[in-house]
Amino acid sequence: MKKESLLQKLFMLYLPISTILIFLLFPFYWTFITSIKPEEELYGPTVTYWPENMTFDSYRKLFGEFNFLQPMFNSFLVATITTLVTLTVSVLAAYAFTRFDFKGKQLFMGLFLTNNMFPHVLLLIPLFAIMRSVNLLYTPTSLVVAYATFTIPFSVWMLTGYLKDLPSSLEEAALIDGANRAKAFIKVILPVLMPSIIATGVYIFIQSWNEYTFAVLFTNEDTRTIPVTLKNLIGQLGVQWDLLTAGGIITIIPVCIMFFFAQKKLIEGMTSGSVKG
């Protein structure tokens, strides 16, 4: 391993990463600034990059009068269950798709894909009727089912991709050693696949955490999720910038904290130590 010079590191690492980060994070910074600006300053003649009069009123209002915790809890519940359900069924399916050869494989893979090509908006009326007929309307379960429908095909495909890129030598070795498929899967594949499972899980979680179209139809006051609550803040008489942006910040932060812990697992593949770029 060669030691890289500081200059090299600056141009190959720090500079590009800061550029991308600025692009990615500026809107977030701006959201935060907006949430602590009083309204006069928002539409003032000059744009201020740090509020002259800071106020945290919106955050207090959100948790005080607004009971933002309820939708947060609902969102968390729905997103977590969706993630667990989706990952379980998708890992199995992906394993089948990569390690077995069977009739109709291509057809099933294609079927999963077309599912994601279909615009959600056309599903609303029939799906609403289905949910009603199986008595799931206005329960968190209805959202889990609706979301799983879209996250499963995605996850199956993603995991299939990862599994294919995994060197199959490991598993074969285990099989030759006399382990059965289940054992080989749990002992060998699962640990190696963990980073990919985490990444897919992040996708599923975020997707269900932020979904609006189904959420507005399949929930009521008790089961509302965050995106619907946020959208309630935009009426005919304009946007409540303070509450909306504060709500946005509060929505984003838990996801980031969770990911902060998850990302350690993300790079802890069994085969890889540190990968040089």
Binding site: P45, P140, T141, E221, N232, I234, Q236, L237
Partner: protein, 442 residues
């Protein structure tokens, strides 16, 4: 192999368990939310002879949207008060839904068509044809004819409701209206040396004159008018069309095209902010409140914040007459769904909002124009300059023809066609042709 099979069986059990929980949840849900249905089922036997008694102890779900979080609280307060004070033991359960730039109506429709909608919901008149064509709404004729407060509401308003359904029946219950007028800044008028316009021509001149470069740097600092080019802009725009003698029925007439040309000229001459093609409610209000525009068109719903921002330096006049005169009457109503099991109780609630305490509380707090004559007489409404501009506009206030094409026309066709005309991609004539055909398509 056995272990794998075991794992599999466990998974299926897990799935089954999940299914059971779901079923459990939903049956709980049934008890809580679909109480009306269940009550009704139980009571069916007893109630057959005395159907009118079904409001006794009924629970009705009410969907509404709130234009801001204070209104949301206000509605919950009104509901709480109704639940306490009504003598029939009716319980209203309020469920707030996002306005979503009008998406509210689609959500409501999807739910109602799918059989899971509310008993009562707040409503926009423009959606009436869609809902009545699918037989979703209760015909209110009998309820209103037998209603003690019937004459509290102006006959004209009932006619508007009838016309919207395209029948002789009333399906929507009036709640409150908003009449558009022109906000202006007296200080800017003084600086530009213009008087409050009394004719349409003077109004156009005032727009031109109040467009000013106040600091002399060669760029416009104050625009004469805050034009709304995004969705919803057809309302103020309609006043321009009528100002030249045009009308919604003949958008391709010479007079209507002339009105459109005025609209385009104002934009091209730079009398409105260059963002006008995409400015919506938010932007026109923000521009007015920050002093960027001298005039803009809106209703009493925004008057409280205007006064908060400017104190005395904001006033209003009704849209002046040209060859014709028209201003848009906005509206919010309530409807009862055919699927409800408690029509009587539902009517109790909507009438409470139309003429009862609910009317007074709501209109005073929101600044909307009441539909109840008694409430209109209250001092609060008589001594307010913005309310006065609204009431001045009342005689010629109207609504855009409500057809089944109207919603699409408002939400996509008008904004896109008008922005094409403003940006010079289309002539006034072409644009008006498109607008005429789209609105009156059979």
């Amino acid at each position: 192999m056995k272990k794998l099979l075991l794992l599999f069986i466990m998974l299926w059990c897990g799935a089954a368990l999940l299914g059971c929980t779901a079923a459990q949840n939903s049956s709980d849900q049934d008890e809580e939310n679909e109480q009306p249905t269940e009550n009704e089922a139980e009571n069916e036997g007893e109630n057959e002879e005395e159907a009118s008694d079904d409001s006794e102890g009924a629970t009705i779900t009410y969907w509404y949207w709130a234009d801001n979080s204070e209104y949301s609280q206000l509605m919950q307060d009104i509901i709480a008060e109704f639940n306490e004070t009504n003598d029939k033991g009716i319980t209203v359960v309020g469920e707030e839904y996002p306005w979503d730039g009008g998406g509210y109506s689609e959500t409501l429709f999807t739910a109602a068509v799918g059989g899971g909608g509310p008993d009562v919901a707040s409503f926009k008149l423009t959606s009436t044809p869609l809902f009545t064509a699918n037989d979703l709404l209760v015909n209110l004729d009998d309820f209103i004819n037998n209603w003690e407060d019937k004459d509290e509401i102006d006959e004209n308003l009932y006619n508007v409701m009838k016309k919207a359904s395209g029948t002789d029946s009333i399906y929507v219950m009036p709640w409150n209206t908003q009449i558009l007028y022109v906000y202006y800044r007296p200080s800017i008028f003084e600086e530009a040396g213009v008087e409050v316009p009394t004719t349409y021509e003077e109004f156009l001149t005032a727009i031109e004159k109040t467009t000013m470069d106040t600091d002399g740097d060669g760029t416009t600092d104050v625009y004469g008018f805050g034009m709304r080019g995004a969705t919803g802009g057809h309302e103020p725009w309609g006043s321009f069309i009528h100002g030249r003698g045009g009308s919604f029925d003949e958008l391709d007439s010479e007079a209507s095209i002339k009105g459109m040309q005025d609209f385009i000229d104002i934009y091209e001459n730079g009398y409105v902010p260059p963002t006008a093609t995409t400015d919506g409610f938010n932007e026109i209000i923000a521009n007015f409140k920050s002093g960027k525009t001298a005039m803009t068109i809106h209703h009493t719903g925004s008057s409280a914040e205007m006064v908060e921002t400017f104190g005395d330096d904001v006033s209003a006049f009704a849209f002046p007459a040209g060859e014709g005169q028209w201003t848009s009457m906005g509206d919010t109503e309530n409807v009862i769904f055919e699927s409800t099991e408690h029509k009587e109780a539902a009517f109790e609630w909507v009438s409470y909002l139309a003429t009862g305490k609910g009317q007074e509380d709501w209109t005073i707090a929101t600044g909307n124009v009441p539909v109840s004559k008694t409430v209109q007489q209250l001092d609060h409404f008589q001594n307010n300059k913005f309310m006065k501009a609204s009431i001045d506009g009342m005689p010629y206030a109207g609504i855009i023809p409500i057809k089944d094409t109207t919603t699409e026309w408002i939400s996509t066709i008008w904004p896109n066609t008008t922005s094409a005309a403003l940006l010079g991609d289309q002539s006034a004539e072409e644009a008006m042709q498109t607008l005429q055909e789209a609105l009156h398509e059979e």
